[in-house]
Symmetry: D2
Subunit: 218 residues, 4 copies
């Protein structure tokens, strides 16, 4: 009873040695969507500006971040040396996500205008734009330079960009990605952060009432 | 890739002897909801008329229907003798569903007006109204007689009742329940038909884009 | 980390509004088997005596038990009137389980000798044997009368029968079914108790290290 | 019925828009285990030689392999230049798996002797041994040099090493890891290959009848 009301969990778990059928049937109350459903929901909508987060959304980039912590310690993210490396080559070790390939291909089919907006800090130079363009087969003429917002405590640095660029559909793995989209009365769609992502703690996908893409962990 | 687009299944199944992580992560693209979320979505909405299907929604009634097939054969549902028995006592063997208890309790808390609308054929007499009222602790003063619509091929017999009674929220396990709600531009919310229900084939819950209640199989 | 050690649960649950990939991947540490795998494991084994529990193993019999509680109250199971009714007709409302059909068919193919051993109390007469024989297409010549062990506090009433009948493979939904098999150094295989079974609390299937049959809830 | 026999899948999938309860309950017929259960199964067993595969077992090493394909093309794995890089630094971008941490810690507690056996080709020099020793806190005195078996078509290059080293318990993600353990009548335990691993196609974990560790994707 409690579970129906959203209370005590009746979940299949490794914590106990067995399972009940109620636990097998249990699912998190999430709005799951497929990319086909997203595309269908956009039928008849003229080309629009759409936005993507990068890390754990279109690229599994933990490799570079993991190396960064090993070399620069816990404060790596406030070290410009780290960002110069991360933004200028370490994405050679980032694994492109299939969900990224599929979403970008779908939006290119629709002739939408794609923007990548990341909370990575800007660095002197960057090769991320070029890597994303090549990796996801985005025509050079349609590739906008990646927007590096950086992080400022207490602020959502993506919201102003969604507003400025009139982005009404934004994909991301973090709560802040979804919150940014909701803040501009847009549609934030969640991509699952892979279980082996080093960016912990992992967010509760779907918890903000947003749509979550099935199978988007890889 | 295909799975992200809603194509080929990558599902955890007993058909093959093993599993991949992609299959473990896979979920059907369904809009799952908890009863707590439904209640929250109705905050501020004044008392309204709500409707419930009966069989496999608030009662697991397969026992009587199973006995009916044993005695009357495949055409039991067009035999008035069956309905006289089913509607006048055989629900003593029907198992009330927890999801039914929780939903009815929630709507009573809200002072909504509850109507039960079933495709069972009307019979000379019926004790179903009384059984539902007692089983779900509905105050006698608030119990409306069950509406028996029967089935007419090619028609959705529930739609006219949702319209007539201005029911904008209707719970059911069958596609026809959800379609009826959608036909009157209302909110159809799916309850899962238990896997041991004898009413086959089982519907694809969530396939009409409707919300599906987690854990509502029992 | 804790979850890998069998500690804190990382489970997909309706208790929280969202989900992480670790939760989606999580499974109870259970030894799941299919009937095909069971059959294969018996290749080359000559015909043997096998046993089946009845309630929630081959029959979903909650309808009669539910009615029993309504009429006789909480102590229905110590009332001979209840058992006379339950064992002489109320199984007309019990739903045969597919897993029961498949297992019995498999063991008949193997020419095993099938025994039904139930903790139901014996009654003056019984029609359960006849119902099982007809429902599961067991040749009359191969049908053994159901063994009604009754319940005696502090004892496992099935163990002596498994021993006496040299039953080395026993199927059941309750912990006591599996424990009886293990007590005679036999193979206890778990069948899932349906989530709408009125026999609560539901056991943790797999918790005794036994094999659990996939999809055996129905 | 077919699903119970291990035939047609009744699986929760993104291929169809909805779901049935049978699909929600469905599980692959796999023998899942937790690390706690493995440890318990070894109680009373004196210190023994145990083996671990490396890639996708204790390290998520796709980053280096992905880079290798980008630079050297599809035949990267027969190019000594690739292996010299992969084995001498590119694991700086490999993400250690929690399952690796937990298993190694458990075996160190037991004073077992740990061997790493990989199908990576040997290179002139290697820093993998050092990286594994530091990453998993293996006392230097107990660290055995990694064994690089390379790949020879038509052979399982790990089997001779399990035999030579009297390894009766071997952990790996690939079919060949489990087959090697089974070939020496040992215990092969499967670790899940992460869904974002670039080593495709992904194996069907559990398909060889082996135990599979829950939550071992990360
Ligand atoms: Mg991100
Ligand atoms: Mg119904
Ligand atoms: Mg039972
Ligand atoms: Mg491997």
């Amino acid at each position: 009873a409690a579970a129906l009301m959203g209370g005590v969990a009746q979940a299949e778990t490794s914590a106990t040695a067995g399972v009940t059928v109620a636990q097998l049937v249990e699912r998190a109350p999430i709005h799951w969507v497929s990319i086909a459903q997203i595309e269908k929901s956009l039928e008849g909508v003229p080309p629009m500006n759409v936005g993507f987060d990068i890390d754990d959304t279109v690229l599994y980039s933990s490799p570079g971040f993991y190396r960064g912590i090993q070399i620069y310690g816990n404060h790596f993210s406030s070290n410009p040396e780290f960002w110069q490396l991360m933004n200028n080559g370490w994405d050679a070790y980032s694994i492109p996500k299939e969900v990224g390939r599929e979403l970008i291909a779908m939006h290119l089919r629709r002739h939408d205008h794609i923007y990548f907006i990341t909370a990575r800090a800007a660095s002197q130079t960057e090769t991320v734009t070029n890597l994303l363009q090549k990796t996801f087969n985005i025509p050079a003429s349609e590739m906008h330079p990646v927007i590096f917002t950086g992080i400022r405590p207490g602020e959502n640095t993506k919201t102003p960009w969604l507003s400025k660029l009139n982005i009404k559909l934004y994909y991301g793995d973090a709560d802040s990605d979804i919150e940014a989209a909701q803040a501009v009365h847009g549609r934030g769609i969640r991509v699952l952060r892979a279980s082996n992502s080093t960016y912990v703690p992992h967010p509760q996908a779907g918890a903000l009432g947003e749509e979550v893409i099935v199978g988007s962990d890889h």
